[in-house]
């Protein structure tokens, strides 16, 4: 297996780990971290392909994703904070008030 394939494999692994973590974990902050993992997996694959084709498009997109991830965290953490204030727990199972 050559270097590109290995790197893509790592990126896929990162993404999958993040995906599974979002689905399986109950702790809200851990779910957020797993979402960051997914984003980082995508970043890695973008950089790999950018280097492979010797273009800069992929790298520019990576910077965009950094910014989006940061903004996302900046918004997500206060939301979680407000939720925790009412529910007094970080367990996702407690946030099921919107039952149909």
């Amino acid at each position: 297996m050559d270097r590109t394939q290995l790197l893509i494999g790592v990126a896929v692994a990162l993404f999958s780990l993040g995906l599974v973590g979002v689905i399986v974990r109950r702790h809200v902050l851990v779910m957020l971290m797993c979402m960051e993992l997914m984003l980082n997996g995508v970043n890695l694959s973008l950089v790999t392909f950018a280097q492979q084709t010797s273009t800069t498009v992929g790298a520019v997109l990576v910077f965009l994703i950094f910014v989006v991830a940061t903004v996302e965290i900046a918004l997500a953490i206060p939301i979680v904070l407000l939720l925790v204030r009412t529910k007094r727990t970080l367990d996702l199972g407690a946030y099921s008030d919107l039952k149909g």
């Binding site: 979002v22 689905i23 109950r26 199972g93 946030y95 099921s96 008030d97 919107l98 039952k99 149909g100």
Partner: protein
Amino acid sequence: MLTAIVLLPLLGFVLNGLLATRLGGNRVGPRFVSVVGCGLPIASFALVVKALLDLRAGGWAPLVEIAYRWALIGDNVFEIAFYFDRLSAVMALVVTGVGSVIHVYSIGYMKDDEGYGRFFAYLNLFLFFMLLLVLGRSLLVLFVGWEGVGLASYLLIGFWFHDLANARAGKKAFVTNRIGDAGFLLGMFVLFQAVGTLDMDRINAAFSGPTLPLISASLVGVLLFIGATGKSAQIPLHVWLPDAMAGPTPVSALIHAATMVTAGVYLVARMSAVYLHAPEASALIAVVGVATAFFAATIAIVQTDIKKVLAYSTISQLGFMFLALGVGAYGVAIFHLVTHAFFKACLFLGAGSVIHALGGEQDLRRMGGLARRIPLTFWTFAIATAAIAGIPPLAGFFSKDEILWYAFASTRGGSPLLWLVAAATALMTAFYMFRLLWLAFFGRSRMTHEVEHHVHESPLSMTGVLVLLATLSALGGFIAVPHFLETQLPLPPVDGHLHAYETPLLVISVVLALAGLAAAAWLFGGTAERAERLRARFAGMHRWLSGKYFVDELYERMLGRPLAWISDRVFLRFGDRALIDGTLHGLAAIARGSAAVLGRLQTGSLHLYAGFVLVGIVGALLWSWRHV
């Protein structure tokens, strides 16, 4: 001008209806109501007289006035037009003349009634529709008038509607009329299809011309007669008229004696050109007419309510008129219509005077000895009774004798059998009318004490009208109506061999009338105990007659109950509840069920939601990978 004749009573209806009723806030007093309510019909009468004079000045050419173009459908024009010829003149004079005097009578009769304004409004409405009926040129306008008088009749029969029985009587009248109207409508459809117009003068011209329209005149004749049966209370649709006596007495006089019930007679007489070519239909009319006359007379003999006797008498006399129409003597039928209007209105209004004098009592078994106490009422009533019994030279004798003669001798369907039944009916007519006179006015008083104490003669507005109508009943026979109408409604040819019978039959008529008088005086004079013994001996027949041959009960059993069953089982339970409501409930249940199923997706668990989002993303990616 013809339009003005028709519209003046409508104006009365609008004015009184809007101002003098609770609807309008009772803005005007009874004086206004009386002046408007009576003045406008009298004005109409004056205009009719003027129209008659104009007609004569114009050489008897019919006056036509087109008021409004109602509809233009393809090539067919439907107009509201008025037509005035000799027949219209006679009818309009009777309607407005007798109508006006009955309006004047109502001033006295309905004086203390709380619905005074409403009463006159309805009476004027009736007069409007009746004039539409009589003066209309087209069968369509006639039919509007026809339905309208039915409406007015319903409103007036149920005038004191707080008593549910009155409302039911009004409903019965209207529904029975509508059954007849189905036949009338079918007749109109057939005529329009065949002739292309509904204008009666044009239809008559089409049937008088060299080539007849391609339609069975008898079919048209029978269908129109079915309509006349409903309106003029002939068998089998006669059941509403006795119940209609629930209305105030002026209503019974105007609508159910003098004018509305004669609309059927007018219709047949107007369409005489059709009936001249319809021997089967004419035969049917004659038979139904004479059978109804006989049948109603037998019931009238045993009635104990003063108004019911007169109601059955009206049905019987209408039967006579139809008998005349059936044998082709159209002018004679109209003559009897006119004399009947005079004496029957006088009789009804006289009965109203009696009821007024007795403070509401209508049962003959609780009257008696009134002749000396209310002499004016008595004498007018006696004159009208003699008129209807056919005692010469009063009006009824002339018209009834003509009918009997043509029933015997007309070549268009006259036969001795018809004459025999009609003569028997004439005998019974004299008998039950004099029975009525004797029971009400002669003999010992059977009144209760408070009633007897308050017996008083009616006011001038009532007695004046009675005197006028009694005079007309006495002298009206000398108005040669059949001769006046002869140019338009020719008298039927008479079998030459039978001329010898003319005088004997005349004598027999008079003998029958006097025999009826004698029998009634003998049975009911004094204490009327001979009548009681007769009733005890024939108790079974008496029960049968008192029950009016149980026709109402038969209709209820044969028609009323099955209809109610069908309405309940088929239409209400199955059609409405099971089908229509069931479909709606079913659709709602489907919506609710699917909502319940889909609602289970919303558990509130964010994990599940996140899972759904990711499944969706994966699915979208796979799809785009496949289809790239």
